[in-house]
Symmetry: C3
Subunit: 360 residues, 3 copies
């Protein structure tokens, strides 16, 4: 991995009054770009050829660079261009997916908002579980063998795009029956995970190392195809039963019962604390824990996204929670730029190292 | 019940320029506290030990009192402390649940926003029905005996936490079959209520005795565990069928078809009018009618909450409806403080009794 | 059809500094009225007797005219009254339904925002399909005979109020079985349409001929009775299975995955372009394409509404998308008045014909 020192050396060369907030044109870029502008930064979006029109149409980008494919961003010349522009890159889900965690860690010299050490902990399933366990989150049970199934499980196949072909089983017999029907004979690789039934909540947190405050900015529910369409008419299906899939197509807004906020904030705090123990200085900036709330009002955590998530796109103009914390519309995208602004201000006031704390 | 006269006597001793808007830390407290501040009042929150952090983290409370359990609020010394602070208490769902309607009516001398006489009408199922019938709302049919079942009914057991174990039956036979399966043999106490299928709407009203206006501030849908998780995959369940429950975990935003607003406002007006006949001066401030809209575009009412409901938490920054009525973000929590402000202003202008009208 | 020339002649007689934005009291009228006011116009609402109270209660109308039934609007005297008030009528769903496309086209001399030539293309199923095909949208397959059914189809009966009695079939056999059960014997008129399973999105577009820009202002999901209630408990139904219906009762907010915006904007642009080829000057102002997003992230289009749709009522105070485009809360209703304002301004600056471009 590129060393912190190397990135901070590059950052040292930046003209602090001409920082450019940059990102890749997808996922939450519109929000990140608008947020940068709202906080007074110049912004820049890197678009894959053919998608520029979206960013032009919304008119939120100061500069637009086009690439044939996103890995071009890693080319030396391209990186030098970004560094010359004093660019701080804001990573998001598509950013990580297109560039790959490993290449970001090892090849990307452009300063990134947040802690790039988190990529490794987020993308490796084992490490992620270690992190969440240390944070004392309740995780779904995992089963080694179909014979052990004693509650509802979801059977997952690796690489199944959008969870296509995943199925549910409530007993070893049901598992065998369904595997046979799929003509898989149980020989393929699969994982068996407790299927927790309840309401889904994806809280959007922001941890600021500068103010040492954890903020709950908003919450969403994912809107998935085909399951959210299928659910509407499952009782009507007779001869044909379409195969279920869980492809995220959008997001729905939600608020959580106020008496549950203690749990929601608690999970966030423990995740931050565990991250500081596991990979100092730990989690920085936005993250999301994917949860299900059971009928016993207990949250079960499925995954962590250690960066801005797409559900924040609902709240470009603020959310019920962000409105409690800020007197202006504060999206997660804007909150990122706000953090950079706070760091720059602390630097002007003679406080050293603030920018280094939030960038790597 | 404590007399109106007694409460108004206490209120008379209040320093009107130093009113504190106070509530219990749960349910809709964040919104109530923010709303009080937005209207220029000092605010105060009473937290159960361990939950203070939530209210600190959002930074919305001027003063925070901690109790071991909420019934402490009823102790003489505690009440005197609140009265010394010129506190007006804002009741909400958890407030009523934790303190109990009877004890609030008989022991709580701190002035409450609204009409405490409503507690009795809201918490007694028979009285509630009498009120809604007088307001000419369409209520779900109730059945005396399983033999009478001639449409879809929900079978409810008293004290079932979150509606756990409730089931549906479409005929006397289905009822018997299911009761046998549950090994209940039909001997237990239960109620049989028509299950109305349609879209759920929880309109949030505010009735102002000062302006004599009924306002529709917002509408929500409850987000319930495990039913809202179960519904997504009911077609996939084979061997295991989890028992249904209806525990409210959050809220979802919604707007109603504009041509239905006449019905929605009409229900609210009739409920206010009936309340004035049944328990003068009647309903004051926020309330919610829990409804289902059938395919014939008729609303069926299930329950009334004669206070601020949790669904208003979605609209801390205003709703599509409140934006029509107000040129600033008007949550229900803020609307309560606005009403107190209007009363204080009328008092300054020499109009007597305005505060008495909205507080008891 | 009344000629453009005739309407523009009437418009020529209007006092441009005293334009009244008028509409019929239903559907999206609250939003249209508020939007007009926000843009500085006088507004007027025409209410059916008995519904005035809704518009009074929200306090958004400057003038309120009451009619016994909406067709009165077409009477000469009534029309003359509107013309004397310099009224521009804003059509919406109920407006078109109550007055009928044919009568609007032939009898309504009051200038209408948008292009009344679109009414014909929108209300005639064949023409609508021609339009959407030319716009290169993916449409659901249609089947001539039940024998051809080789995927999930929805069987629709003409005139079925709210889709009542529509059913699904996955094979010719299932079709026959269900038709027999309904005692229809397949002799009745019906259409067979591919039932596309996925997430529903109703994007709200606005095309401005003045700026030649297509704007995506917001997106909603329809909230339908009884299907959205039925879906929650389908697994619990045993003896009784209520007949499905799709009556729109409200709307839910949603955002779409950012990488899908290219497709969403593309569909809108192609629909506008095709409209310009088919009925010059083509689509003007707000429109909505009803889509389903499949698990392959492809949008299938079901219908087009060539006017403001009810889902925009969610966004009276702006949406995540409109906030990217405008620095103030911009509902579709307000955007319409903004377009009129732009045209009037261009007229003042000596640019001829701007108002004519957006009114017919």
């Amino acid at each position: 991995m590129i060393s912190r020192r190397e990135i901070h050396q590059i950052l040292k060369g930046y003209a602090r009054e001409r920082i450019t907030v940059a990102t890749i044109g997808s996922h939450t870029a519109l929000q990140i770009l608008k947020g940068a502008r709202d906080e007074g930064f110049k912004n820049l979006v890197i678009c894959k050829k053919g998608t520029e029109e979206v960013y032009r149409q919304f008119g939120v980008a100061d500069e637009l660079l086009t690439v044939e494919n996103f890995t071009q961003v890693l080319e030396t010349e391209f990186q030098e261009g970004l560094i010359k522009r004093n660019a701080i890159l804001i990573p998001h889900g598509s950013f990580v997916e297109y560039l790959s965690p490993a290449r970001i860690e090892n090849e990307l010299k452009v300063p990134i908002f947040g802690n790039r050490a988190v990529l490794n902990w987020e993308s490796d399933r084992e490490k992620e579980r270690e992190w969440l366990v240390r944070a004392d989150l309740r995780l779904p049970r995992e089963f080694k063998s179909p014979a052990e199934i004693d509650l509802l499980v979801i059977v997952k196949f690796p690489g199944a795009k959008g969870g296509k072909g995943y199925f549910l089983a409530g007993s070893p017999e049901e598992f065998e029956r369904k595997i046979r029907k799929m003509k898989l004979r149980g020989k393929e690789k699969f994982t068996l995970q407790e299927y927790v039934i309840g309401t889904r909540f994806y809280p959007h947190y922001f941890y600021s190392p500068l103010t040492e405050r954890l903020e709950l900015l908003s919450i969403d529910i994912r809107y998935e195809s085909n399951i959210d369409g299928l659910a509407r008419l499952s009782s009507l299906l007779e001869d044909l039963h379409p195969v279920l899939s869980f492809v995220v197509t959008g997001n729905l807004p939600v608020v959580v019962r106020e008496s549950l906020l203690q749990q929601v904030l608690g999970m966030g705090l423990r995740v931050v604390k565990a991250s500081q123990e596991l990979f100092s200085p730990g989690l920085t900036g936005p993250f999301c824990i994917e949860t299900v709330c059971t009928e016993d009002l207990e949250f079960v955590a499925f995954e962590i996204s250690a960066r801005i998530v797409a559900g924040t796109n609902l709240y470009i103009n603020g959310s019920p929670y962000s409105q409690l914390l800020y007197h202006e519309p504060m999206s997660t995208g804007r909150r990122i730029s706000r953090e950079i602004k706070i760091a720059l201000k602390q630097g002007q006031q003679g406080q050293q190292g603030s920018l280094d704390k939030i960038i790597f």
